[in-house]
């Protein structure tokens, strides 16, 4: 559906979320799951059509687990996970010899490592992943080198891009307490520069344990075989007695927030964000549908009315951040040169108010539900997508949800959508960022 999500394939490693509006599709997917005695959760999907295996390791640690003076660390650490162990000094080389390819990304909530390779070579992937779950060995020199790479990533993806700091500004406004207030790349390059070896060790020992990890596989192997292989490669790793962090909750917002900045950009952009429920709440699905009514496809309201009908904007969007803890529903617009900020804001608010005042039609809802189902089917064609999704739902603590979501969407009524719109789109809960051109 229309939520902001975090991965694309075939790009350099170390990918971060934000800006990448990849459709996150779930599937009606068959799977079996099993937990090893050390706490490692294993989920396997059997796909007899594929000659490949997709192996995914999700560690439930992301930017939300960072301290406010050491932001960007989870992502820096993800980079370090590729810099070798005592037994395997180069992670990529043995995998490449097995015709494998791998990458990883970090977001607010978790860090994901993924591999595809010919299914007969699946043990190479499991060997390498089990090795780096325990045996990482980082020298001062490697740490310093990797910091430079991450600083260039910071430059490339944020500083050297028009609108590159919009999300950082918005997060800072929407969150006062919860660690979602900083971006995954970090609040400032200084935090990356200052990261110490002691922090590296502490972070690794604390979060990279079998209890905090999910191994998910989609391949031509049957699940029992995958469980046996998981036992063989990961069974010996001791449990660490891991306990979850307590993350401070964000207090309820009671007054509108607003920030206006002026930048050297070709078009003025607006973002309006509203707090919404957590990933397992019903609010999540309602908000997802709200953003679909607004911006799910070219027939959706914002595009048809504001871009095409009234010609106020060059582009509009609406999406949810899709975070595990209570996240954001965001509405965005790039203004055409002749449109004023006031005019654009008013037009956006009219659309939001209309949703609260009159329920969307049955037709609109059916369209969104059909679209959701189609996207599930398209997504099911890719084994990596399946393995990632299995890991993700397992992390949420409700693996069967992966197959229940279609039903959940179908159960939503017009009245419920209108009530959700009235509840979410309150001016006193809004945060507005005006990113004005000079």
């Amino acid at each position: 559906m229309n939520n902001i999500f975090t991965y694309i394939l075939k790009t350099p490693r170390g990918l971060l979320p934000l800006w990448l509006f990849v459709e996150f599709t779930t599937t009606m997917i068959t799977y079996d799951s099993h937990t090893l005695s050390n706490g490692l959760r294993v989920v396997a999907n059997h796909d007899s059509d594929s000659a490949m295996a997709a192996v995914n390791l999700l560690y439930a640690v992301g930017a939300r687990n960072e301290l406010s003076d050491c932001t960007g660390f989870a992502h820096l650490f993800e980079h370090l996970m590729f810099r070798g162990t005592r037994a395997v000094p180069d992670f990529d080389a043995p995998l490449q010899l097995a015709c494998g390819e791998n990458n990883a990304f970090t977001n607010n909530d978790y860090t994901d490592y993924y591999i595809t390779l010919p299914k007969d070579n699946i043990e190479t992937a499991l060997w390498l992943e089990s090795d780096r779950m325990r045996g990482l060995e980082i020298s001062d020199e490697v740490l310093e080198g990797e910091k430079r790479v991450v600083l260039e990533e910071y430059n490339q993806r944020y500083l050297n891009q028009p609108y590159g700091d919009m999300w950082k500004l918005l997060r800072g406004m929407c969150y006062t307490t919860h660690p979602y207030r900083w971006p995954t790349i970090g609040l400032t390059p200084d935090h990356i520069r200052d990261a110490s070896m002691a922090t590296v060790r502490r972070f690794y020992d604390r979060y990279y344990s079998p209890e905090n990890c999910i191994l998910s596989v989609s391949s031509g192997h049957d699940p029992e075989h995958i469980f046996a292989l998981a036992e063989k490669w990961f069974g010996h790793i001791p449990a660490s007695g891991f306990t979850r962090d307590t993350i401070p909750a964000e207090p309820t917002q009671t007054s509108a927030r607003r920030l206006e900045v002026v930048r050297d950009v070709p078009a003025t952009a607006i973002m309006i964000a509203f707090p919404m429920g957590d990933r397992l709440s019903r609010s999540y699905y309602l908000c997802d549908m709200l953003t679909d009514v607004l911006a799910g496809g070219t027939s959706a309201r914002l595009y048809q009315r504001l871009v095409k009908g009234r010609r106020l904007m060059g582009a509009t969007n609406a999406y949810i951040t899709g975070d595990v803890d209570p996240g954001l529903l965001v509405v965005t617009a790039n203004l055409l040169p002749e449109t004023s900020v006031a005019e654009a804001e008013q037009a956006l608010w009219e659309e939001l108010r209309e949703l609260a005042e009159s329920a969307p039609s049955d037709y609109e809802l059916t369209k969104i539900k059909n679209k959701f189902e189609a996207e599930m089917t398209y997504g099911e064609m890719n084994i990596m997508n399946k393995a990632m999704n299995l890991g993700y739902y397992s992390m949420l603590g409700d693996l069967p949800l992966i197959n229940r979501e279609a039903e959940l969407f179908r159960s939503i009524t017009r009245e419920e959508i209108a009530a959700a719109a009235a509840d979410i789109f309150r001016p006193e809960r809004s945060s507005t960022l005006i990113y004005a051109k000079q």
Partner: protein
């Protein structure tokens, strides 16, 4: 010490061949069938890339506005008809080709195919839609061109092929203001013809659906003649640069005009560029990223076009590292023709390339893309097996000889945009 698991090296990759029929209008329809497949995709490929336009942005506008209204339905009605069934329409454009792709769930095929037909065969190009589109695209191109990477890419094409060359030229976004209904209509009539078209589809084995697709494709009008595209000889310049005051990174593009996929040395040069910068762990990654920390990413590849081909290296580096990065890239290119690649390194690259083919071909959508590319290149899906054979048997000596022949570092075109 744990023993690494044994590895199996796949010896071949099974690549399905499409069944082919030639329709009454002369269009080739290539079908890839897969029993039980619940998604239908069809892609129309036209020789209607930017080299075939007489006015800036006409080729891209003609394809992007296909779905913005027909003689029977408005743009919004068409958008609804697609979205309601979760069907989609997608276009891609390069210098040579326009590819129009339609996708739907098999169970909504009957509901969707009529809309697909209307989009492709009956575009209205209403002036109102053109002006909305133009202002939207003008804005997004303006934003795009604030990026050093975009500036560098455009300058690099100009430097490789020449300022006004159809493979090198780029246009100011203000040209969007001059697009007219007649421009698009004329282009559509001239280029979206049966003579310029082939179709690749992927579906289950229901013959009724394939017959329906054939009836669709048969309606692509014939112009009665095929006008070949004339591409003049390119002229490369060695160096170009642009200062961008606010840049924190400089975008570097380096490369050299060589040849396209039909050339007997193309696959060999693909191996050479893989060694240089085709994978994570390549020489350029090792040097620029892992050892020097100049960049987050660097990549090299062979680019195939219909009437040309070139080797390209792309990276964005901290501004203060730009000069040293260019030197290091030159040194790595030079090393290819001075030293023999080791057996281990070559074996790694072979297996990576092998794995890459397997990944592309895993699943029906990748197979459509491979079939499109093979057909564009005047060959068929057997080219994968031939390429793999060549990758398997290429020697370090041949790699060195190819690098010596084609990649003299002094002759590389270099573009730097930043500070």
């Amino acid at each position: 010490m744990i023993q690494p698991p044994a590895i199996t090296i796949p010896q071949t990759i099974r690549v399905a061949q499409p069944t082919e029929q030639r329709l009454a209008n002369g269009v080739r329809l290539l079908a890839l069938t897969n029993p039980g497949q619940n998604v239908v995709r069809l892609s129309f490929v036209f020789e209607a890339g930017t080299t075939t336009q007489h006015k800036p942005f006409v080729a891209s506008s003609a394809q992007n506005l296909l779905n913005e209204g027909s003689s029977r339905h408005s743009a919004i009605e068409i958008a609804e008809a697609l979205d309601y069934y979760g069907s989609y329409f997608e276009v891609s454009l390069d210098r040579d080709y326009s590819v129009i792709t339609f996708c739907c769930l098999a169970r909504f095929f009957d509901e969707s195919i009529g809309t697909f037909e209307e989009i492709l065969l009956d575009p209205l190009y209403a002036p109102d839609e053109i002006s909305i589109y133009a202002s939207k695209r003008k804005q997004s191109l303006e934003i795009e061109r604030r990026k050093t990477a975009t500036k560098a890419r455009e300058r690099f094409a100009r430097a490789l092929f020449g300022e006004g060359h159809p493979y090198g030229v780029s246009y100011h976004e203000s040209h969007y203001d001059n697009l007219t209904h007649n421009d698009l209509e004329e282009f559509y009539r001239r280029r979206y013809t049966a003579e310029n078209c082939f179709v690749v589809c992927s579906l289950d084995d229901d013959p009724k659906r394939l017959a329906r697709i054939a009836r669709f494709a048969e309606q692509v009008p014939s112009a009665g003649h095929h006008t070949p595209v004339e591409i003049p000889a390119p002229t490369s310049t060695l160096y170009d640069s642009e200062q961008v005051e606010q840049a924190v990174q400089s975008s570097i593009r380096m490369g050299k005009l060589l040849f396209g996929r039909q050339h007997p040395d193309f696959v060999g040069m693909q191996v050479v560029t893989y060694i240089l910068g085709g994978y994570f762990g390549s020489r350029l990654i090792d040097n620029l990223r892992e050892r020097n920390g100049f960049t987050y990413s660097v990549f090299a590849s062979m680019i195939n076009m219909r009437h040309a081909g070139y080797m390209a290296i792309a990276t964005d580096v901290g501004c203060e590292f730009a000069e040293r990065a260019v030197e290091e890239i030159r040194a790595e290119v030079g090393r290819l023709s001075k030293e023999l690649v080791s057996a281990d390194e070559l074996e790694t690259v072979r297996r990576i390339m092998f794995g890459e083919f397997m990944r592309i071909l895993d699943g029906p959508m990748g197979l459509v893309d491979v079939t499109i590319e093979a057909t564009q290149n005047g060959t068929d899906n057997h080219y994968i097996a031939r390429s793999l054979d060549e990758i398997r048997t290429i020697t370090p000596e041949r790699i060195r000889d190819l690098a010596e022949r084609y990649l003299n570092p002094e002759t590389l075109t270099t573009v730097v945009v930043g500070k």
